[in-house]
Amino acid sequence: MKKNGKQIGLIVLASVIGLLFLIPLIWMISTSFKNDFEAIAGGLNWIPENFTFENYLYTLTGDGVDVPIFRWMFNSLFAGLAGTAIIVAIDALAAYGLARLDVPFKKYLFPLFISTLMIPFVITFLPMYMQFSNFGLLNTYAVLIFPYTANAFGVFLLYQFFKSFPKELEEAAKLDGANKWQIFVKIVIPSAKPIIWTLAIFSFMGIYNDFLWPLVATNSPDMRTITTGIAIMQQGSFTSSYGKLMALTTIATIPILIVFLIGQKQLIKGITQSGIK
C-alpha cells in the first residue's frame, strides 16, 4: 500500500515536470494560430479564440515581406543531408582503416585525430571564415557543409565499433579472394548499420541546428539557413508579431522533431557511448 502511494506520487511529479517541458512548445503552436492582436493582448487562451491560418499563409507565401522560407528550409535540409553523407562515408573509411588495416603511422594518426575532440569551435571559426572568404566561397553550400566534416566524433565512435568487430568474417572473405574495399563495402558496412545511423542522426541534428557558424558565414538572404533566418526575422520585420514568429519557429521545428522522434534510440546510444571513455 505504502509503496503504491509512493509510486503514484512519483508519477504525478514526473507528469508535472513533463508538462513544464511541453508548455513552451504547446504555447508556441497555440500562438502560431492566433492573429497578432490576440497574441499581443496577452490572454491566457491555450485554444485560440479566433483560430487562424493567416500566420502560416503569410510566412509561407512571403506576402509583403521577402521571406524565402522554403529556400532557408531547403538550405538547412540540403546542408544537413549532404554533410551527413560526407561525414558517414569518410569517417567510416578512416575508422575502419585505423582500426583494422595496415595504415602507415596509424599509431600516431588516431591519437592525433582524437585529441582534436578537445579543440573548441571558437579556435577555428574566425580563420575558417577567412579561408572561405579568401576563396570567395562565403554564401555557398560549401561553407554550410564542409566545416562540419572534420569532426573526429564519428571516427571515434566507429573506431570503437570496428575494434570489437569479430575478425572471422573478414578472414573468411579474404580467403574467398575479396580485397579490402570489397570486404569494407560488403561485410563491414552492413554490420555497422546501427552505429552508422547513430552517427548520421547526430550529424544531421548538429548541422541543421547550428547557429553561430551559418550566422557569420552567410549574409545573403538566399543562403541563410532556417535557424539563422528566423533569428534575422525576429530582429527585423517580425519583431513583435509573435503569431508569425511562432508559425516560423513551428515550421522550423517540424523536420528536426521528426528526425528526433524516429532516431531517438540511436541518439541515446550515441550520447551514452560518447560518455564511455
Partner: protein, 298 residues
Amino acid sequence: MKEAKLPASKAKKERLSKFTSFLFVLPYLLLFLAFLFIPLVYGIYISLHDYNLLSSVQPFIGFENYATIFNPDSAMNSLFFEGLGNTVKFVIFSVPLLVAIGLGLALLLNSIPGKLRTFFRTIYFIPYAISVSVVSIIFLWILDTNSGLLNMYLMDLGFDAIPWLTKQPFAWISLIGATIWWTLGFNMIIFINALNEVPEELYEAGAIDGASAWQKFIHITLPTIRPIMLFVIITSTIASFNVFGQPYLMTRGGPGDSTEVLLMGIVNLAFEERELGVASAMALLMSLIMIVISVIQF
C-alpha cells in the same frame, strides 16, 4: 634466384597494401588538414597581425594583440575580461543546476515503471532536438513583459509583472532557465545510463545493512557514478562556456552589458568592427581556457 626474389616481391606487396590502406584514411585526413589543422595555424598567424579587414595592409605585430588584451588601460582589456566574467557567471550559475537536475530527473525516471519511464524520457528529451534560435524566440515570447505567458499568470495571481529580460537578476534567471529547458535532457540520458550500470548487488547489500534510500544514494550510487559525474560536469562546463545564441537573441547582451558573454564580444569585434587580429587572439585565449578544463578529465 627464386629465394632471393620472394622477399623482394613480399616487400613490394606490403608497400602496396600499406598504400591501399592509406587510401581509406586519406579523405578524412584531407578534411582534417583543411578544416582543423590549417585553421588552427592560420588562427595563430592572424592573431599575430594587425588584421583589420577594412584596412588594406595587415602588418605583423608579434604579440601586440595579446599585450593589448592584458593591458588594463585598453578597451580590449575590459571587453575581454568583462566578457569572460559574464561567461564564467553563466557557467557557475548553470552547470550545478544542469548536473543536479539532470541527475534528479534520471533518479526520478529510474523509480517509475518501465513503460512510463520511456514515455517521460522522450518528453524531457524533446527540447534537446530544437535549435538555439527557436528556443530563444519561444522564451522571448513566454517571458515578454507585457504579454508573455509567465507574466500573465503572475498577474492573474496578483503579482506585479517582472521585467524578465531587461533587469537583473531576472535576465540571468531567464537565460539559465531557457538553457536548462533546452539541454537538460542530454545530461539526464547520460545519468540514466550510468545509474543502470550500478550493480544491483550493492543495493541489496545496502538493504541488508538497513541503509535508507538517502544513505544508499550517498554511499552507493554517487561513488559508483563518479567518473560519469565528472564527464557530465566537464561537458556541461564546456557547453556553457560556448554560450552565445541565448544572450545574443534573448537579452542582446543587456541590460547594460551584463549578459554580453565573451563569445558575443569576439563575434562583434570580428564582424562588426572587423578587427580580426585581436578577435583571433581572444578566441585563442578562450579556447586555451576550455582546453585546460577538458584536460582535467584525464
